[in-house]
């Protein structure tokens, strides 16, 4: 049991079960939360935080969400002697993650580990304090104020199937600064002035005159400017078929105003069609989160294939290509073939499977398959999103076609037998001959 304040040395309290903060005000609590959550050690940033409200001060709903539990003064003594399930569970998971050999101070991993340890759903909190309009109190203090753009981090985790989403709201953001504080306004489509007014059109049935309402108004009476007759009843003598806008600045008359928005934050103005529309979600963990919390974010298959194949960095692979091209052009006899193997939709497999061990096994087999397909003289690299580039030395395109066809069949079989689902592997080929040029070859991988 450790009651901490801003002067506490957190490293010395690493073995405590929880941090207890005596609540004296939002400012101090805020600073302490930053101090804890920006710490690099898992045992500190993920440790349970209790807030002791000794003086019965009203705590804002936001801050209640930032900590794990609030303890009233009168229950404090009792609480200390009781074993709290929540705290025990958090500490159990911290201990579990401590076993991992994978160490990283990457903020995304920190967040994922924190969410994993808490096993919480991140609920968006609407606020004007944050420039993005929404914040996630549980994880707010992992980033400095002002650099809090969690959306990119969430998008990354969602793309990797490490978080799943639940739609909450749809929000408009500024095109320039991503602020949600936008002033939507109807403007004149000709001079863009906001100084516009709208007026109904009046259609007098009897004489077919149509004009603005103001033309008919004479005090409380409505008199037709064409036939001077008084209009009494809407729907009987006249109707209002539509309305018009009139720009007070340029006198332009129009029916459909242009909608523009001005950002309160950066003052830029743009058409409403250009605002960034973003969905706001709740986030919770997926079945793969534990694996990522333990091993990090690199694709499981990346890791496996790295271990089984000798993957070259891109720049070395490119150098090989250059040398191979020069060699072919010099001797004008041989040809080689480039293979573009796209396994990027392999991540989809993650989504539907819970059996981590089984996936791992299959991926090892998949890596082995690719390995058997390569000769020792062939070189392989990986581009973004699991696109593999393979240079088959002294192999004609016809030869490569036969080999890749066999590889495709084997991979399809592997997935069908083990997972009872089909997996379409995407393979394309390019021959390198004496007429090839390097730019054209490099385009092949884009």
């Amino acid at each position: 049991m450790a009651i901490i304040d801003l002067n506490s040395d957190l490293d010395k309290l690493i073995n405590e079960k929880e941090f207890i903060i005596s609540y004296v005000g939002e400012d101090e609590l805020n600073k302490l939360l930053y101090k804890i959550k920006k710490h690099s050690k898992l045992e500190i940033y993920a440790k349970p935080i209790l807030l002791l409200n000794q003086f019965d001060i009203k705590i804002s709903p936001y801050f209640i969400q930032t900590i794990d539990k609030v303890i009233d003064n009168k229950y404090y003594e009792n609480f200390m002697y009781k074993k709290d399930i929540l705290i025990s569970e958090i500490n159990r998971k911290i201990n579990f993650l401590k076993k991992s050999e994978y160490k990283s101070n990457n903020i995304t991993l920190k967040l994922l580990r924190y969410i994993y340890v808490r096993n919480i759903t991140l609920v968006p909190y609407q606020t004007i304090e944050n420039k993005y309009g929404y914040t996630y109190p549980k994880i707010d203090h992992f980033l400095d104020k002002g650099e809090q753009n969690f959306f990119e981090i969430f998008d990354y985790l969602v793309k990797r199937f490490l978080l799943e989403t639940n739609f909450v709201d749809r929000c408009h953001f500024c095109l320039e600064c991503y602020s949600p504080f936008l002033n939507f306004k109807e403007v004149c489509p000709r001079c863009f002035s906001v100084n516009i007014k709208s007026e109904p059109l009046i259609h007098h049935f009897e004489c077919a005159y149509v004009g603005l309402e103001s033309e008919f108004k004479h005090g409380k009476k409505m008199i037709c400017p064409k036939c001077d007759k008084e209009l009494f009843h809407l729907g009987v003598d006249y109707d209002k078929p539509s309305f018009m806008y009139i720009c007070n600045k340029c006198q332009y008359e129009f029916q459909e105003a242009l909608i523009q928005t001005t950002c309160f934050n950066c003052n830029s103005t743009f058409d409403v069609d250009n605002v960034i529309l973003k969905d706001i979600f709740e986030y919770k963990l997926t079945t793969l989160s534990e694996n990522a919390a333990l091993f990090g974010f690199e694709s499981l298959f990346d890791k496996i294939i790295d271990e089984n194949l000798e993957i070259l960095p891109n720049y070395i692979f490119n150098r090989f290509l250059e040398i191979e091209l020069i060699r072919i052009q010099r001797y004008k006899k041989s040809v080689s073939t480039l293979v573009r193997l796209n396994l990027s939709n392999l991540d989809e497999i993650y989504k539907d499977l819970n059996n981590f061990e089984k996936i791992k096994k299959i991926f090892v087999q998949l890596a082995d398959l690719i390995k058997t397909f390569l000769r020792t003289s062939d070189v392989i690299t990986v581009f973004n999103d699991l696109i593999y580039g393979i240079l088959l030395i002294e192999t004609s395109i016809d030869g490569a076609k036969i080999t890749t066809k066999r590889l495709k069949e084997k991979i399809t079989e592997l997935f069908e037998v083990n997972l009872s689902q089909t997996y379409q592997i995407d393979v394309s080929l390019k021959e390198i001959n004496k007429d090839s040029n390097l730019d054209e070859i490099m385009e092949f991988f884009k």
Partner: protein, 436 residues
């Protein structure tokens, strides 16, 4: 067969001048005198005036371009979206370019709103006003008028398009005579080739609008500017309060302008092509609507023009003639039939056949005048309409005549135009109650 022809020719050669008049007085009085001799005289007179008129027009053209006023082209209509692009394109190819194109959507229930909004955003039309609740053609035209900025208002039907020099030409009369309040354009049938009905209308438009109105104009008895294509001075339109509730609002506004003392002329050099009804059934409906207006507007609403000092004697006579011709002509036709049936019973067949031949002959004379006069402006496909000339007597003499008689009787006795769906019921109800 030979005997029939032989007898017929014996009959023809046996009739002397007196007999000819007795047997064919209806044709001689109502057709030949008016539609051949008068027309021919006017056209021949005009041939000698051509150079002088040309000089005046050249001068007017210089004045027009010196001033270069803004023209508002207004197109009111319902469900006309699909026609607007073609219309806008024909306007963009005009020699006169200082215009604004205003489209008023009068309660369309198709994609007109989306089409026009897109055209507006692309800058193809200048103003688009959508009234989701239909108010009728007059209110739509008045809406456009209310938001027009031009010195002159061109009223166009959406399914029309203009010849490249139409707008420039139609404006010239305003710069020749400043008392002119409105100018009618020459409306021709665009889709002459579409069906027999459109071919017949193609020839009918050429003789009754192109030639007929040209002659009426030269005699200063123009009574109608087509709703399909006409141009009005903005100040004059404002003075008459725009269009009144139709149907027949085009004839109505022409007479209202005349009443104020402004001139109304026709310009044969300004050509507008419009799509005519393809089916006889639709055509009958259209004419039923048009023909009723002569009773509703000429006979009821504007009968006071006969006592209006702004109307010159020839125009008054023309209006009387128009009323008599349209209404009494039908009665005379029936009287004529009774007369020949009684007086020349054995020759009835021969007389009817001869009448038919005379009518065809009359139409071929008109064809000659058309070719002589406006032959250079005819499109190749306009010649299709000349193939149906032998059928014109049936078309005008029977089909259109029956529709006209029916329309006149229905309007005279039952005021059927007030129940026409052409106007929304909320409008028809009010104008019927007020007896407008």
């Amino acid at each position: 067969m030979f005997e029939i022809f032989d007898n017929y020719f014996r009959f023809l050669f046996a009739i002397d001048e007196d007999k000819f008049f007795q047997m064919f007085w209806h044709f001689i009085i109502f057709e030949a005198s008016k539609y051949i001799f008068l027309v021919a005289i006017v056209l021949i007179y005009y041939m000698f005036q051509r150079k002088r008129i040309k000089k005046l027009e050249d001068w007017a053209r210089i004045q027009l371009y010196r001033e270069y006023p803004l023209i508002s082209v207004i197109v009111p209509g319902k469900n006309e979206g699909p026609n607007i692009y073609k219309l806008a394109k024909s306007l963009s190819e005009q020699t006169y370019q200082n215009y604004e194109l205003i489209i008023v959507d009068d309660g369309s229930n198709d994609d007109t709103y989306l089409i026009c909004k897109d055209l507006l955003n692309r800058g193809i039309i200048d103003k688009f006003i959508s009234n989701p609740d239909r108010g009728g053609k007059a209110s739509a035209a008045n809406t456009a008028l209310r938001f027009s900025k031009g010195k002159y208002i061109v009223h166009l039907d959406a399914d029309s398009h203009l010849r490249y020099d139409a707008i420039e030409n139609i404006l010239l009369p305003f710069y020749i005579d400043e008392t002119i309040g409105a100018v009618g354009g020459d409306v021709r049938v665009n889709n002459v080739e579409a069906s027999l009905a459109t071919s017949l209308q193609g020839f009918e438009y050429l003789k009754s609008i192109s030639i007929g109105r040209f002659v009426a104009d030269k005699l200063d008895v123009m009574r109608l500017i087509s709703g399909a294509y006409g141009v009005f001075r903005m100040d004059v339109l404002k003075r008459v309060g725009g269009w009144d509730v139709g149907p027949g609002l085009d004839g109505d506004i022409t007479l209202k302008i005349r009443k104020l003392g402004f001139g109304v002329v026709f310009n044969i050099e300004s050509i507008c092509y419009t799509n005519a009804p393809i089916k006889f059934r639709t055509l009958a409906k259209q004419r039923f609507r048009w023909d009723r207006s002569i009773i509703r507007f000429r006979l009821r609403k504007h009968i006071d023009i006969l006592f209006n000092k702004n109307f010159k004697i020839p125009l008054k006579m023309a209006i009387i003639d128009n009323l008599l011709y349209n209404v009494l002509f039908d009665i005379f036709w029936i009287l004529y039939l009774i007369y020949i049936m009684n007086s020349f019973t054995p020759y009835l067949g021969y007389i009817l056949v001869t009448n038919y031949i005379l009518y065809i002959f009359e139409n071929y004379i008109k064809l000659g005048l058309i070719l002589l006069f406006i032959g250079d402006t005819l499109r190749l496909k306009d010649y299709i309409s000349f193939l149906v000339i032998p059928l014109i007597p049936i078309y005008t003499g029977i089909f259109l005549k029956l529709v006209r008689i029916y329309a006149h009787l229905m309007e005279f006795f039952f005021r059927v135009s007030y129940y026409d769906k052409w106007n929304p019921w909320k409008v028809s109800k009010v104008v019927k109650e007020k007896g407008i």
